[in-house]
Amino acid sequence: MKRYSIFSLARNALTGHKDWHKVWRSPDPKPYYDAVIIGGGGHGLATAYYMAREHGLTNIAVIEKGWLGGGNTGRNTTIVRSNYLFDASAHLYEHALKLWEGLSAELNYNVMFSQRGVMNLAHDQHEARDLIRRTRANQLNGIDAEWLDRDAALAFCPVLNGDPGIRYPVYGSTLQRRAGTARHDAVAWGYARGADAMGVDIIQNCELTGFDFDQGRITGIRTTRGSIRTPKVGVVASGHSSLIADMAGIRLPLESHPLQALVSEPVKPIIDTVVMSNAVHAYVSQSDKGELVIGAGIDHHLSYTQRGGFDVVETTVAAVVELFPIFSRLRMMRQWGGIVDISPDASAIISRTPVDGLYFNCGWGTGGFKATPGSGHVFADLVANGRPNALCAPYTLERFSSGALVAEHGAAAVAH
């Protein structure tokens, strides 16, 4: 792998940018791998990267039915934070946040991680009580968290509507200063480049169509580019996980829904943090290009359409305009949807399955982008060693029968 540096930039500028090398290879599938990861989103690519780097597994492949990051990785609003209420979540997301902080250097690839702070607004006393409790829980877990009263919140983000007469007035806000955003594609590409350099085969336009078993064990997979023998498969397919579980006869507690986002026309810098509101279910940040990036809630019916209904956009935009009247004249440029895998307790499933050698990492729903490095890191350990480490142990499939749920639904504020 050729490393990027100020010198490589200068050299390539002088030669008219004609000599940049390919960032990863495009190999044909081999007949056998020690392990195969299904899904070339951020989580799948991070998994492969850490399997190679931390567990020495380099004869492995990632297969992706479309293109790298074309799933939710490339469709999300890129909010990264770790201020979750429960210990299990706080530890896992904070593990991820620590990895984010060193990721560009580690990958020699700029993932544009921007620690611009994330605010979670409270609109009434009851919500404030919950959020203050959460900041305290975060502090006990060593996670930076602050409570801003109304005046401090409005001072931190002056474009917020300070009118106390609106339906959901700003009552106060939590602030995690180390939180922020990252460049979604770059995360997928950076991990892909790093994994490829260690010998991992990244195979795009290759869809998983079935499994081969022998006496309850995985022995291989079938794909649109032929069969591959392998003793270990890690499935990281977000909204499409249930379809793959069906192929293995496993039932998952997941429901797939469209989640939408939209961006405005680009404007001068106007909001230098991320604002989220649970009550009105809207969140806003500004991209480096100047577009406002706006996230909505899920469409409530099951769907694989990757677009979502206009009524959801309407509700979201109404909420955003009430919170930020200054945005009311902006035109929206693009809207899209991704299919998110919602689990009953709004927490991920990082787990072995009843089939030996088959592992799932799914259920991240509306909020898994922030977890990408941490998720890949613990899942690599699980697939490589066949047992969960302490960080991922609470996230088993068995928790739905033991009752030990990680019930972040109400606890995490907006789940993104």
């Binding site: 039932r251 769907s303 694989y304 359409t305 206009f310 009524d311 739905f400 029968s401 009752g403």
Partner: protein, 128 residues
């Protein structure tokens, strides 16, 4: 966004309705007799097909009545609305009679799932 034909009110905007997940899940007759895994299956595990899905809806901003809807989750085409107490409709040739399915496994309508019969299904029509 799509239109849904409420069995009582007729064609209305989808936003008048609330989706309430998989239909035809029956509460077990004797919960105490189930293992933890069987109970978890009833409470948490869900069919999540890319294709025909039989689901419950409520006309929350209308007549407020509950009903069933057969819908294709790959295209958001609504196929058939039917009553809250009715058995799932049949689509295509390969399906066992609905009554038999309901009697044998109240929750198991897997024979209807998946994309294999999508074309047949679209030909069958129903309410869209």
């Amino acid at each position: 966004m799509f239109q849904i034909s409420c069995p009582w009110c007729g064609e209305r905007e989808q936003s008048e309705f609330k989706a309430a997940g998989e239909g035809h899940i029956r509460r077990p007759d004797d919960p105490a007799a189930l293992t933890d895994a069987e109970w978890a299956d009833y409470v948490f595990m869900r069919k999540n097909p890319r294709g025909v899905h039989f689901e419950r809806w409520v006309h929350i901003h209308g007549c407020r009545r509950w009903f069933h809807l057969a819908r294709d989750t790959a295209s958001d085409t609504t196929l058939k609305a039917y009553g809250a107490a009715e058995a799932p409709p049949q689509f295509g040739d390969n399906n066992p009679p609905a009554a038999e399915v309901t009697a044998a496994h109240p929750g198991d309508i897997s024979a209807y799932d998946g994309g294999s019969d999508e074309d047949a299904l679209l030909r069958e029509g129903g309410l869209r």
